[in-house]
């Protein structure tokens, strides 16, 4: 093999290694798909599409989010994962929070709902906290 052909091969090998690294790091984070904004309460998808419900999540303020009944029809949409993004360096601070993403994937045709509940502070004590329910309508065509 002449030096002229070795150089392009080395370059191709390097590109392949870099591409593999990038793919590996990207796969550590799940695909969040379409992210619903704070005021959005409905989404229309096709099977295989992903979407995320994003909510501000701060335990110090008193947020405590969870998915509650009535659960979504799993033939229409299925939960994939839940991740929370925090700003860099947040561990050194007291009082801050992040953004929680509830990630779903459309499975089959139909319409169903997903309900997120925030038991804010002490939610059954109306003097101190409150119950917040967000209901999202998901249509898969």
């Amino acid at each position: 093999m002449t030096p002229l052909t070795r150089t392009p091969l080395r370059a191709v090998a390097l590109i392949a290694v870099l591409a593999a690294c990038l793919a590996a790091s990207a796969s550590n984070q799940p695909d969040r798909g379409r992210i619903l904004g704070p005021d959005e309460r409905s989404v229309t998808l096709t099977p295989g599409d992903r979407f995320s419900i994003a909510v501000e999540d701060n335990a110090s303020i008193g947020d405590d989010w969870s998915i509650v009944d009535p659960r979504a029809d799993t033939a229409v949409v299925a939960a994939v994962d839940q991740v929370t993004d925090y700003p860099p360096g947040y561990e050194k601070y007291i009082g801050g929070g992040g953004t929680a993403y509830y990630i779903f994937e459309a499975k089959g045709r139909g319409t169903t709902t997903i309900t997120l509940h925030n038991c804010f502070r002490i939610c059954d004590d109306p003097e101190i906290g409150k119950d917040v329910y967000n209901t999202y309508t998901v249509t898969v065509r």
Partner: protein, 520 residues
């Protein structure tokens, strides 16, 4: 060189026991036993402690006689010569004196009980330590000397069997020494806590100003809010009494005369106490005069709601059990009217700082509750002012959406609270249960003195750290009163604080104390 504390001895024995259990060579077993034996037995003379306690019991009996005499005067009434405002003031003094003597009698009894309990615990600890220590010494003697470096590398089956036998023989003895040390440590901390608290109850004596009569000292020290248990709602803390006296002693005669007139013209003992509190908070005479203009003639209930954010409605220190998320069921709202003193944004540090300052500085509290005139009762206006102030302090500490860091917390405490209490704040990271337990006497002394203690609490949900800030505002026996800037106080035990149950204050995501800012 200072001797190790009871907590340090306990920790040293815990470490020695761990090393003994994990020892995998004869030399390691010998070292672990020697480390345990190097820890001093529980120190103290139970008989001498008991004798001191008995003197308090004698004084309690004498104090009770005095209380009966004062109560008789209060019940039968003053002689007819005491009429008009002079008679009213004399009645005030008699009432306050009666309460002070009652507290004194209770304090003497508590001191006797505290010292009696300490003596008993120390005696039991020393009795348990002796045989355990002898047993460990015997095992050490039987082991003989340490092995040379070559022999230490190789342990045959026979050596291993002997080593394990010695290890198993020694472990119960070192456990016995640790149990004794733990008993002595718990008793010492409880005694320190209770005696510190009792010392702060000698309240009239904290006000040392030359120009204040004994009668005035007693009345000021015994003035509390219009309701709630009196001993949990004193308007002037021990620190307030001390600082107001110091400021009075530094006043020139003209200012002193002017201040005395303000006090004399006060409508109620509570109004007078708040003027003294304003002085203790470091305000100038002009500022106090303006403050007096806003509060003069107001009834004690108005004064309390506007000037004392945290007051204790009940002497019930029960938790009531816990909600599903770990929070205590019994909580007391911290409110101005119907609006809570609570955080809105990621400002738990700023919010606890604002509340701590409002507890120490009645002018600041009135600016927030009553606005610039002091007369605004609109709850929405209070909420706006409170939010603005929390945000101002948050920015002052370089806070952002992530919250506030340790340096920022130290800065805001130094700027907002220290000038009004005279305390400097020292950051103390608390890495484990031993550290949290060991710091309790200092926390309780600061709180009993009238200096609230900010506490950082944390937890982990998976890899995610959750953090929050709360404030210890009261202490009674082995219970701590804690303010959560979600708008309430609740009572927790010392064990909750040390053993990772701060979920009883907030929720189960932040159960562990990781640091405090300790007022000195």
């Amino acid at each position: 060189m200072t001797k190790p504390s009871t907590s340090q001895r306990r920790k040293a024995l815990q470490d020695a026991l761990k090393d003994l259990r994990e020892a995998d060579s004869k030399n390691d077993v010998i070292d672990a036993i020697k480390d345990a034996l190097a820890v001093h037995a529980p120190v103290g003379d139970p008989a001498a402690i008991e004798a001191t306690g008995n003197r308090y019991k004698t004084m309690a009996t004498e104090s009770e006689h005095l209380h009966r005499d004062v109560t008789t005067i209060a019940e039968t009434g003053l002689p007819d010569v005491w009429t008009g405002t002079t008679g009213a003031k004399a009645a005030e003094v008699i009432g306050a004196t009666g309460r002070a003597i009652d507290r004194q009698s209770t304090a003497f009894i508590k001191a006797w009980l505290t010292l009696h309990n300490l003596a008993d615990a120390l005696r039991a600890a020393q009795a348990a330590d002796g045989p355990a220590r002898s047993g460990a010494q015997q095992v050490l003697s039987q082991l003989g000397g340490k092995e040379g470096w070559f022999d230490e590398w190789f342990e045959d089956d026979d050596d291993e069997a002997k080593r394990k036998k010695a290890q198993q023989a020694a472990i119960p003895h070192v456990e016995g020494m640790l149990t004794a040390a733990a008993k002595a440590d718990d008793a010492a901390r409880a005694a320190a806590r209770d005696l510190n608290r009792l010392a702060d109850e000698a309240r009239a004596g904290k006000l040392r100003a030359k120009g204040v009569s004994s009668a005035d000292k007693v009345v000021l020290a015994e003035t509390s809010g219009p309701d709630g248990p009196t001993e949990l709602n004193d308007l002037l803390t021990a620190n307030d009494l001390k600082r107001s006296g110091e400021y009075l002693d530094r006043m020139n005669p003209t200012d002193l005369a002017a201040f005395d007139r303000m006090l004399a013209d006060s409508s109620t003992p509570q109004e007078r106490a708040y003027l003294m509190k304003a002085l203790a908070a470091g305000h100038s005479l002009d500022e106090i005069r303006a403050f007096d203009g806003k509060i003069h003639g107001k009834d004690p209930e108005w004064l309390r709601t506007h000037l004392t954010p945290v007051y204790t409605k009940s002497d019930n220190r029960d938790s009531g059990g816990q909600e599903n998320d770990g929070t205590n069921k019994i909580r007391y709202g911290v409110k101005f009217g119907t609006t809570m003193w609570q955080q809105t944004g990621p400002t738990c540090v700023a919010s606890t700082t604002v509340t701590a300052r409002a507890m120490a500085d009645p002018l600041y509290a009135l600016d927030l509750t009553g606005g610039p005139t002091g007369q605004d009762n609109d709850p929405a206006a209070f909420q706006r002012r409170l939010l603005d102030e929390q945000n101002r302090v948050h920015e002052e500490g370089h806070g952002n959406a992530k919250g506030m860091d340790e340096d920022g917390t130290g800065d805001v405490l130094a700027k907002e609270v220290s000038p009004h209490t005279g305390a400097t704040y020292e950051y103390k990271s608390l890495s484990d249960e031993n550290a949290r337990r060991a710091i309790l006497p200092e926390i309780e002394k600061a709180v009993a003195d009238g200096k609230p203690v900010p506490v950082s609490i944390e937890g982990h949900v998976g890899d995610e750290r959750k953090g929050h800030e709360v404030l210890i505002v009261g202490q009674e026996g082995d219970m701590l009163q804690v303010y959560n800037p979600w708008g309430y106080t609740t009572w927790i035990s010392e064990a909750d604080f040390a053993n990772g149950h701060m979920d009883h204050v907030a929720d189960n995501r932040t159960p562990v104390v990781d640091a405090v800012h300790l007022p000195k």
